[in-house]
């Protein structure tokens, strides 16, 4: 509507620039279209995650068994609380950002300064929380065994509670040295060795008749399958690796792809938050020195605000697809 009116009223101005058919400035419009393309990038990642999950729908890890940590609460299983807290922090920093934009509209410099400062702090807390989440994910909690076929075996007691390798693995008089570049025949090395060898786990399992093995397969009741003692012993003979924690090639929580996507998507999002913080800091100092006061317009705050809200928007989806669904 508006576009036609503009053309009709100022014909010679149509191609001369300076008209805004969408009634948004060049910078703001481009920020919107950047957001469109970035949203499609994230959609591509999340859709790829969905693809892999549908492919292995019967063996995919259950998120509420993976993310169970909360700061200062050791050994307490607290699924979801921590990431819910992270979501709050990010939503709240979005609120302070939009309050900064609002104050900017009214040309209240002091308020813009305070709200932008709070936004930056919120973003930093969020990135820190994500680092902590990564640390727990990488470190792992119980440890597991990977079989020759690539599937994962976890250990449970009679009641179905998870048992850590450290609680039952035997100590055998064997020495195995980590292969380093200095000792390799060719460019060979390996990452740090797990705390127990396969033989130690197998011996420990034999010595504890109460233990059972849990496979990755999800039952009709939406729990992981627990094998009988006889099947457990049989499956354990196929063990090939001890897995502790998660990295890009092995993962004690289940499907390797789960860890890959977790690192990649939350990492990419975390990188967005990080760049958002940097941009916010730059704009924060611009506000401090009065750049926008001189310009008589705080539109720049509005533009970084759009980016910051977008980061929040992406997190809402990441939260749903990694932790809830």
């Amino acid at each position: 509507m508006e576009a036609t009116v503009t053309t009709a009223n100022s014909e010679e101005k149509t191609w001369g620039g300076g008209n805004e058919p969408m009634k948004a400035s060049y910078g703001k419009l481009m920020m919107w279209f950047f957001i469109v393309s970035d949203a499609l990038t994230f959609s591509g990642f999340l859709a790829a995650y969905g693809f892999s999950r549908f492919k292995f729908i019967e063996t995919w890890p259950l998120a509420d068994e993976v993310f169970t940590h909360f700061p200062f609460m050791h050994g307490v299983s607290a699924p979801m609380y921590y990431v819910a807290l992270m979501t709050f922090i990010l939503i709240f920093s979005s609120v302070t950002m939009v309050l900064a934009v609002d104050a900017g509209h009214q040309m209240k410099k002091d308020k813009v300064v305070i709200y932008m400062f709070l936004t930056i702090i919120g973003g930093m807390i969020f990135v820190g929380s994500q680092a902590w989440e990564w640390k727990n994910f990488i470190k792992g909690e119980y440890g597991a065994i990977e079989t020759k076929g690539g599937s994962l075996l976890q250990f449970v007691d009679k009641e179905g509670h998870r048992v850590a390798l450290a609680d039952f693995a035997a100590t055998l008089p064997e020495e195995r040295e980590q292969l380093t570049r200095s000792k390799g025949k060719w460019f060979m090395s390996e990452s740090s060795l797990p705390s127990y060898s396969v033989a130690e786990v197998q011996a420990g399992f034999k010595a504890h008749p109460d233990l059972l093995i849990r496979t990755e397969v999800i039952t009709k009741e939406k729990h992981k399958t627990i094998l009988s003692r006889k099947d457990s012993e049989l499956r354990l003979t196929q063990a090939s690796l001890v897995v502790e924690g998660a990295n890009l090639t092995h993962n004690e929580y289940g499907s390797k792809l789960f860890a890959d996507f977790f690192f990649f998507i939350t990492g990419f999002h975390g990188f967005h938050v990080f760049s958002g913080i940097i941009i916010n800091i730059i704009i924060f100092f611009n506000v401090l020195v009065g750049t926008y006061e001189k310009r008589r317009s705080y539109e720049m705050v509005e533009k970084v605000g759009l980016y910051w809200h977008f980061v929040d928007l992406v997190w809402v989806f990441v939260f749903t697809f990694f932790y809830l669904v």
């Binding site: 509507m1 508006e2 576009a3 058919p21 969408m22 009634k23 948004a24 419009l29 919107w32 279209f33 957001i35 469109v36 949203a39 499609l40 959609s43 591509g44 859709a47 790829a48 969905g50 693809f51 892999s52 999950r53 549908f54 492919k55 292995f56 729908i57 019967e58 509420d64 699924p79 979801m80 819910a84 979501t87 709050f88 939503i91 709240f92 979005s94 609120v95 950002m97 939009v98 309050l99 934009v101 609002d102 509209h105 009214q106 076929g149 690539g150 599937s151 939406k222 605000g305 809200h309 977008f310 929040d312 928007l313 809402v316 989806f317 939260f319 749903t320 932790y323 809830l324 669904v325």
Partner: protein, 116 residues
Amino acid sequence: MSHEHVSNTKRIWTVFGLLSVITIVEVIFGIIKPDVLHMNSFMAMSLLNWLFIILTLVKAYFIVWAFMHMEGEKSTLKNAVVLPVIFLVLYLLFILLTEGNYIYEVFKNSTIKWNF
């Protein structure tokens, strides 16, 4: 200047309250996982997951409309931003999830059991 410069503080806090409530509801459902929702499914996905996705879309709507102030923009801008995203995301999801499900069935029903 296309926006009238009135303070929207009240609306901002209302939306914040709303987003918080939705997040809390999501977390509660995620922890309790009521069997009615968890065990019944619609279009091969449990009702609980549908609930999470719908609540997420509601949150997304409020973030874009209130925080990013899409509600104050011209309808041409709204459409230019929102429609391509919705169309392309639905297309992408349809094609990838169908394919993923197909591969799952190949693993399940044919001779290929595992393929990295």
